[in-house]
Amino acid sequence: MSMIGLVDCNSFYVSCERVFQPRLCGVPVGVMSNNDGCVIALSNELKALGIKMGTPAFTLQPLVRSGQIHLLSSNYELYGDMSQRVQAVLEEFSPTVEPYSIDEMFVRFDGFAHAPLLEHARQLHHKVRRFTGIPVCVGVAPTRTLAKLANRAAKKIPAYQGVCILHAGSAETRNLLQKTELGDVWGVGRRLVERLALMGIKSAWDLAQANPKEIRRRFSVTLERTAQELRGVPCIEMIDLDEARQRIMTSRSFGKLTDDLDEIREATRQYGQRSAEKLRRQNGLAKAVLVFLKTNPHRQDLSQYSPSLVLELPRPTADSREILHAAGLALERIYRKGYLYQKGGVMLLDLIGADRQQLSLLDTPQSDAERQRSQKLMDVMDTLNRRMGRDTVKLGMPTPGAAWHLRCAHRSDRSTTRWDELPKVRAL
């Protein structure tokens, strides 16, 4: 039986901070966006105060000053490293781990009987927490859409204790589907919910029972797939998910094993450029860039080194120049001589729609003229590349040390990636 698990880190950014600052445990904590603009991650305690994602940080200053809540600048370097650790632990449990975003990963579980699968998932749940300090929830099901629902149940229903397994056609699955509103199903947006309600389709169960052909005819293939997945028929692959706007990834093997920094830099720039194009095509903005390198894991005779690093962008952007600059900096930091790299990639993270740009007005002031100039330039570049072939227009090297200053007054230490920012342990 082929099953897929979704492992989702609980309040990931806040959890990363808590590993090294235990005093933040059990109290309301929020993490702010670039330049301390607004709150982008909240602990449960902060949510309980009625504070929402996207709240401008300045409106919370009275609560911060009186010590009732803690707000931190985002520390992407730390989050990126912790995310990699979580992934590494998961890889001990399954040969196939697919990161979906910085805090969500799909894990394949094939060939387990019922009882051992539950035991396996519990072990995984426990080990990630113990090894990395990050609490997670695990949802396992025959399809990704159901795994997502299972994960949600694992998070919301205390009886599951963080692990929920849904088998196709079981009473438990049916029960949960009947209780799940359509809006909480992965990939079903608000407008779809309204249109489906007109057909009498209100719960996830209704959608699973609907005639797939009918759904396809009246809506789309995508929704038909969602309906199929709810019945336990897998039809969404990882590649489809990249489209879901959570992340954009361009990754390829170098074609040969190489340790030549120039070659790798060139490849990284290409991947970055490609990712930026995809980002602009879906009219999005990225807040952070992840760069990774991998040596060949099947050549155990060679030294292995598979680093990755996340850098945050000074502001949400789709400008290739800014993205490539960040990618270049990240590469310089992770590249080590003496290893033969097989593969590399550039992932754009924390995507938002360009129409949500107003959020970033709180971040970094960028004049309208500047933004329009950037957009125009990118448009011209994309058009030329589309018409005359890829890489007709490429970007040169950016000037090193260009404006790269961020406000991050409340950033915690980069405890796992900088020698001079290691956590202190008291011998008292």
Binding site: R130, F131, T132, G338, L422, K424, A427, L428
Partner: protein, 146 residues
């Protein structure tokens, strides 16, 4: 003028990073391949020796002197492994009153305690305090001033 300010006429060659690669190529001009060639690229890697489980290993730096008698000094680097099950005799990183603290895990009689290397600090019996193990210290790196 002190010695430090003197500029040497012939700057020393930059020191080779240790450990040296075992072989740098062919032996002389004879055309025979060096017998060491098969071992090229193999160097001693401290990570391999000290970091048994990278995903669960964290580095921390020590403040305070209570563990000196146990060989842990101010400024030392601790390699902490969260994957290990703590046993008596282990040096632990533990959360005591919300602070990250290093202690030795001991059994006093039958009572598990967190002890320091300094008699000034009384052992803390684990029965009546809020304490959480953060990780087990696998090694200590002490760098001498040189």
């Amino acid at each position: 003028m002190t010695l430090v300010n003197l500029i040497p006429a012939h700057p020393e060659p930059p020191p080779l990073a240790l450990p040296h690669p075992l072989a740098l190529g062919r032996a002389g001009l004879s055309g025979f391949p060096s017998p060491a060639q098969d071992y090229e690229g193999r160097t001693l890697d401290l990570n391999e020796r000290l970091v048994k489980r990278p995903s669960a290993t964290f580095f921390m730096s020590v403040t305070g002197d209570s563990m000196e008698r146990l060989g842990i000094h101010e400024g030392d680097l601790l390699l902490v492994d969260r994957s290990l099950e703590p046993r008596p005799g282990h040096i632990l990183v533990a959360l005591i009153d919300g602070e990250i603290t290093v202690k030795r895990y001991e059994l006093r009689g039958k009572v598990p305690c967190l002890c320091s290397g300094n008699p000034r600090y009384a052992p803390i019996p684990l029965v009546d305090i809020e304490c959480q193990v953060w990780g087990v210290v696998r090694s200590v790196i002490h760098e001498y001033p040189v």
